[in-house]
């Protein structure tokens, strides 16, 4: 317990380290002795091994002259941080009454009431742990103002707190001291960042009364010369603070990036992430005042730099679709080069979400019809100070003067019912601009008010701080407090094969409490499955013209070309889009593997989901599996869809601990209400009807469509009693002869609705799949669940689920279809065998669920 009751006990200790400032230190001491304060102040002179005897003489003289007010300490030279720490520790040990420490360098001065005013701030607000000053420099005269609320984000970019601050004792009691490793300078910057790391916060005191002697050559100048080295030292020590995720969190708390004006509600949402609890609503009058405040006294008050206008119904729709954050990010990207960004939201085709962009207005996309409008920070500033408003008013003319970027977002009616009629965003933007221009505060902005220079130079440019990690690229506006966020990196989304696996894993992980986000790498249009919103919380398009999914590069790995983009492309757009995620799952995203190592450094866990080796023309394995190996170091986990693939990965040198198999399961869920006993139904089917054989899947060479065609024709040649159905379309345009093949059975359109798919499988007695290569096809598992007997080539991991002759029939991978023909003949002729195999297949597939499949991955992620 500290005894602070003694009336003569000092409340404040001023620590003055002295090293080679023997000639000036008397000024510093005198300025402290002259303090006018209602409490006692202890001057603590720390002679930091100064080689000049005069320092000792001055120190001793003052200590003798003022034995109750001056403490003189000597120590071997250790640098500024060491000297301050020595003073702090000595006073903490010897003078329990001291509530706060002030650090005055030997060549600086204080005005007489400085410490009284600063201590009053600490006394008024227990939440304030240090009071930092305005800086009035003499010698090389200048004056600096740091007005406005303390911003840790700004503080991570520039040192806004001078060492000459009054610091509460509890900061030191929490173990925060000056780091003696910062011998070249910036030890004060590090100190305050450490205090902030420990949960302490500062407050600015304007007109503090701190006077700083500025010389052309000083320790600070030396520190500036070493700035890149020291900045690196700071970033290393305060790794979390310097991470973009933390920067965006601080940005959201301290200085929101967006002002989203909702004209129908008459208010403004100030936010980085509009659905985060940090988003704050202010009424329009308050917003107008704050905008002018920020323009009149730059640096003094936070005001969102980006202004965005939309109706609340539009914002609700974008939120419902999960596209709101992406829209904000997209518009911020457009506003790097353009002055106005317009988003046109339209009702698109059923079952699809699409985007388009251009800088040219068209008949469809007139500026005045935009659903969402945004104005760049610089453009808004210019408009506000413009003598007249012709320039901005021209937005509604046929030839707008501002540079405008247009983009379109087409949403399906089943997701969002859009209100018909013109968008009013630009009209409302103009109304907002005119409200600002007619504000009574506009006149004040034409005058100079602040005589000190702005020290908080990053105020209202804080959005640039997280951008620094991405070479200035706009940073995705998403906070992660809400929970665990998992990104699914998809080259495209037509939701067959690998994409359907992603879809099902997303649903399973979402059910486990993750928020899931579809990241479309290489497409502007996606298919939306009926239960889309059970799978993904948001949809996001990379929309980066620089991105190349594949393609040859100068390097190859085990014969698989590594694209130039992966090796040396501009990754900033991808990184700035993904940094905020807790985990990304790469689903055959090709070159995006080149960003994984960087994402890991941002704290994102990286997983690659691998399914199938592609084959070269000569049949050599290649593709995403090999790209995954090339970037093995960048992935935390490999998630193969089968044990076969897991074994291959381990064999290729991937550590066993990094391999977490997510075994495939049927690609769609049966309705909960569907409790039919399919095995019994199949046993009761008439045995005299033709065998019903189904092919379902992509109509391409990999799937052996040419083999299927031969099989059908041969069966017909033999007059085998078979009813054929072929369901599917071609997704990959491989240009091979098979793509041009005209099948003997006209194919039916691909199915995506679970009920239609279930009906197709229920119809079939046999599902045939003569693929040349595979992973573990969903078709096989779906067929088995339905009790359709699978007749498939023994490729990939099919044999993991199809036990030849027991739960299905496996045939060698060959263009010779005779074994398949025999199998069909056998099953057509022996319905009893067909029924038994169907029953065993159903039993086998029953345990294949996505929940079970993702258990291992979920456990692995929980453990890291």
């Amino acid at each position: 317990m500290r005894d602070t009751t003694a009336p003569t006990s000092p409340r404040v200790a001023v620590v003055i380290p002295v090293f080679r400032h023997s000639g000036l230190v008397a000024e510093a001491i005198e300025s402290v002795l002259a303090q006018e304060a209602p409490f006692r102040i202890l001057v603590t002179i720390v002679n930091d091994g100064c080689p000049y005897p005069e320092t000792d003489e001055v120190g001793r003289a003052y200590a003798r002259a003022y034995p109750d007010r001056v403490l003189y300490l000597r120590k071997p030279n250790g640098g500024l941080a060491s000297a301050r720490n020595f003073g702090i520790k000595t006073v903490m040990d010897r003078v329990p009454s001291v509530d706060a420490f002030y650090f005055l360098d030997a060549d600086n001065r204080l005005r007489p009431r400085a410490l009284a005013r600063a201590m009053a701030v600490l006394d008024e607000d227990p939440g304030v742990d240090w009071v930092y000053p305005s800086i009035d420099m003499f010698g090389l005269a200048s004056a600096w103002d740091y007005s406005g609320p303390y911003s840790l984000l700004q503080h991570s970019a520039i040192n806004i707190c001078e060492a000459g601050s009054l610091v509460r004792r509890n900061v030191f009691e929490d173990g925060v001291l000056f780091d003696q490793n910062f011998r070249l300078g910036w030890e004060d910057w590090d100190f305050f960042l450490s205090a902030a790391d420990a949960g302490h916060r500062g407050r600015y005191l304007e007109n503090f009364g701190f006077r700083y002697r500025k010389r052309p050559e000083s320790m600070l100048m030396e520190a500036d010369r070493e700035s890149s080295r020291l900045k690196g030292q700071l970033a290393l020590k305060h790794k979390d603070l310097f991470s973009p995720r933390c920067a965006v969190r601080l940005e959201a708390e301290e200085t929101p990036r967006f002002a989203i004006y909702l004209p129908d509600r008459g208010n403004v949402l100030r936010c980085v992430d509009p659905v985060s609890p940090t988003a704050r609503t202010v009424d329009l009058d308050q917003h107008l005042r704050q905008v002018w405040h920020a323009h009149t006294l730059p640096g003094c008050t936070p005001s969102p730099p980006f202004t965005i206008v939309m109706d609340s119904a539009v914002m609700d729709s974008l939120t419902a679709v999960g596209a709101l954050h992406w829209v904000l990010w997209k518009m911020e990207r457009q506003l790097r080069s353009e002055q106005i960004a317009c988003l046109h939201i339209e009702q698109g085709a059923p079952g699809r979400i699409s985007i388009k962009e251009t800088t040219l207005a068209s008949a469809d996309w007139q500026v005045g019809n935009a659903t969402v409008a945004a104005i760049a920070p610089k453009a808004l500033t210019e408009v506000l100070v413009d003598e007249n408003s012709y320039w901005i008013d021209s937005l509604l003319s046929a030839k707008p003067s501002p540079r405008v970027a247009h983009s379109g977002l087409q949403l399906p009616a089943e997701m969002v019912e859009l209100r018909r009629g013109r968008g009013t965003a630009v009209v409302n933007l103009l109304r907002l601009v005119h409200s600002l221009r007619s504000s009574p505060y506009r006149a004040a902005a034409k005058q100079a008010w602040q005589w000190r220079e702005i020290g908080t130079a990053m105020r209202n440019r804080e959005y640039e701080i997280p951008r620094q990690a991405f070479n200035g690229h706009p940073v995705f506006p998403r906070l992660t407090e809400a929970g665990r966020n998992m990104g699914f990196l998809l080259p495209m989304a037509e939701f067959a094969g690998v994409e359907r696996v992603a879809y099902n894993i997303a649903k399973a992980m979402r059910a486990r409490g993750w928020s899931t986000h579809a990241i479309l790498l290489d497409t502007n249009s996606i298919k939306v499955l009926p239960d889309w919103q059970n799978a993904f919380d948001s949809v996001n398009f990379l929309s980066d013209p620089d991105f190349r999914l594949g393609g040859a590069g100068a390097q190859d790995f085990l014969g698989t070309p590594i694209s130039d983009w992966a090796v040396s492309g501009r990754h900033d757009t991808v990184l700035s889009m993904l940094y905020w995620l807790d985990c990304v799952l790469n689903f055959h995203g090709g070159a995006v593997a080149g960003t994984m190592g960087q994402l890991r450094r941002f704290g994102v866990r990286t997983v690659t989901s691998l399914h199938v080796h592609d084959l070269t023309h000569f049949g050599r394995p290649t593709g995403n599996t090999h790209v995954g190996l090339a970037y093995e170091h960048g992935f935390d986990f490999f998630a193969p869809c089968s044990e076969t693939m897991a074994t291959w990965l381990h064999g290729m040198g991937v550590p066993r601990e990094k391999i977490v198999t997510v075994p495939n399961a049927p690609g769609f869920d049966l309705p909960v209400s569907d409790t039919r006993d399919r095995a019994a139904e199949r046993r009761n089917r008439p045995t005299d009807l033709p065998l019903r054989v189904l092919f379902i899947g992509r109509l391409d060479r990999q799937k052996g469509i040419d083999r299927l065609d031969k099989l059908i024709q041969s069966a017909r040649d033999r007059d085998m009693p078979i009813d054929w159905r072929v369901v599917g379309g071609s997704v990959m345009r491989d240009g091979s002869p098979t793509a041009q093949l005209r099948l003997a059975v006209p194919p039916e359109a691909p199915l995506s609705d679970p009920a239609d798919l279930a009906a197709a499988y229920d119809w079939a007695d046999v599902v045939v799949l003569l693929s040349r290569y595979e992973g573990l096809p969903l078709t096989v598992l779906e067929a088995m669940r339905a009790g359709a007997v699978v007749v498939a080539t023994d490729v990939g991991a099919i044999s993991e689920v199809v036990c030849d002759g027991h739960t299905g029939i496996l045939i060698p991978d060959s263009d010779d279809i005779s074994r398949a023909l025999d199998a069909l003949a056998d099953l057509a002729g022996d319905r009893d065998r067909l029924g038994k195999m169907a029953g065993r297949a159903i039993d086998m597939a029953r345990h294949r669920t996505w929940h079970a499949a993702t258990q291992g991955l979920s456990d692995a992620l929980d453990q890291t």
Partner: protein
């Protein structure tokens, strides 16, 4: 507190009987060294002080010469630094009795020499206004002004300082405290979004938000120097230095008959008193010298590069002894039909007249006349600005003799 204890003396290897002696010897040695060190330091400080004093005296002398140069160059003018005129068609700020308001000044303190606020209308009834200028950093009141209601009228209320504020930049608050039955109404200029810069209550507890900024004028001058003030702004009874404004010079009247060449040159802020061949030329500034003036200084010089040498002089005389000009046919006040020289010489010879010597300047030369009075004026005086050709027979072609920066200094009270 204080210094650390002295170093320990290791006596383990000293015999017991020798320890006392060794301790004393050590103490004496230590004190002796300390005294020698202190003496040397004291001598060093004496030396440093003497150097500083020499340097200070040199600086003082240089500053004095600089003052003369600035004065002679006509540079000693205060500057209107900020002008925030009253907004129109708005209700004024009502300054209630005993509810003082604070207004931060929108610039740093350095060099500020005068502030003005704008009264919307004269106060009703009796009252008293106290205005104070304070620095926030130092917590000091730097200047105060007091006005009775009768002294206040609609328009700018000037708040001058004798000495411009020093070079140490600080932030200033103007506080206005009114005592009266009816509120004092002040004009404001604009609304400000930052409450630090708009009007606020001086009382922390009743600090109602007001986003208006008072209409203000702020003048500045050389920091820390005595301010030359336009005399119409100078409150009666104040001491200091001020310069006659251009309007006062423009009222100068030629005392020579039909002299078209004596006139106020607005672009130069000078009064031209063109010499007349064979006569004196003079301009009269009626009643320009108030009671209490102890020194009159005037800049002199020709605007011509090729004129012959010209003599300049100034004189002050009681208004009762004024050489009366007469009205000419052109409606300008003139003396009719007579040379000026006899009348002026008569005036200059009167005991109450104070006049300078003649100052002779060639073309392109500039100079300054300082008329130091033995005693301050006790009544209003006229000022006479006089020229003549140095050679009486010389023609005054291109003479263009001028007077400017008429500076009056009163003794400090």
């Amino acid at each position: 507190m204080g210094t650390e204890p002295p170093l320990l003396l290791d006596l383990r290897e000293t015999r017991t009987e020798q320890r006392r002696g060794r301790v004393l010897s050590c103490i004496v040695q230590s004190l002796l060294e300390d005294r020698i060190r202190q003496s040397r330091r004291q001598v060093e400080l004496f030396r440093d002080l003497s150097h500083l004093r020499t340097s200070y005296e040199d600086l003082h002398r240089s500053f004095s010469l600089l003052e003369t140069f600035v004065g002679a160059s006509g540079l000693d003018q205060r500057q209107l630094n900020r002008d925030l005129p009253p907004a129109v068609n708005v209700a004024p700020v009502r300054l209630l009795s005993a509810q003082p308001l604070l207004q931060r000044l929108p610039r740093q303190s350095s060099g500020i020499c005068e502030v003005a606020v704008h009264l919307a209308r004269p106060p009703e009834g009796e009252g008293h206004l106290r205005v104070a200028l304070s620095s926030i950093e130092a917590g000091e009141v730097l200047a105060t002004w007091e006005f009775e209601a009768a002294e206040l009228s609609r328009g700018w209320v000037n708040l001058p300082m004798e000495i411009a504020l020093g070079p140490d930049d600080m932030t200033l608050d103007l506080s206005l405290d009114w005592s009266g039955l009816h509120p004092l109404e002040l004009d404001w200029c604009l609304r400000h979004p930052d409450p630090r810069y708009s009007l606020r209550s001086a009382s922390a507890t009743t600090g109602a938000a007001d986003d208006r900024v008072l209409a203000l004028r702020i003048w500045s001058y050389i920091p820390g120097c005595t301010v030359p003030v336009a005399s119409d702004n100078w409150p009666t009874g104040r001491s200091g230095t001020w310069i006659l404004p251009g309007e006062a010079l423009a009222k100068g009247i030629s005392l020579n008959t039909d002299d078209e060449n004596t006139r106020y040159l607005e672009q130069f802020d000078m009064l031209q008193v063109h010499p007349i061949q064979g006569d004196f030329a003079a301009a009269l500034l009626s009643g320009a010298i108030d009671p209490g003036i102890g020194q009159v200084s005037v800049n002199i010089g020709s605007l011509s590069d090729s004129a012959a040498a010209i003599d300049y002089a100034i004189a002050i005389a009681p208004t009762a002894n004024r050489i009366a000009p007469v009205r000419s046919a052109k409606g300008i006040l003139r003396r009719r039909g007579m040379p000026l020289k006899p009348a002026l010489e008569r005036l200059l010879s009167l005991p109450a007249t104070r006049c300078s010597e003649w100052y002779r300047l060639n073309a392109q030369e500039k100079g300054r006349i300082d008329l130091l009075l033995a005693a301050p004026t006790t009544e209003p005086f006229d000022l006479y600005l006089i020229t003549r050709m140095a050679e009486e027979a010389e023609r005054p072609s291109f003479a263009w003799a001028t007077f400017s920066a008429v500076t009056l200094r009163s003794d400090r009270g």
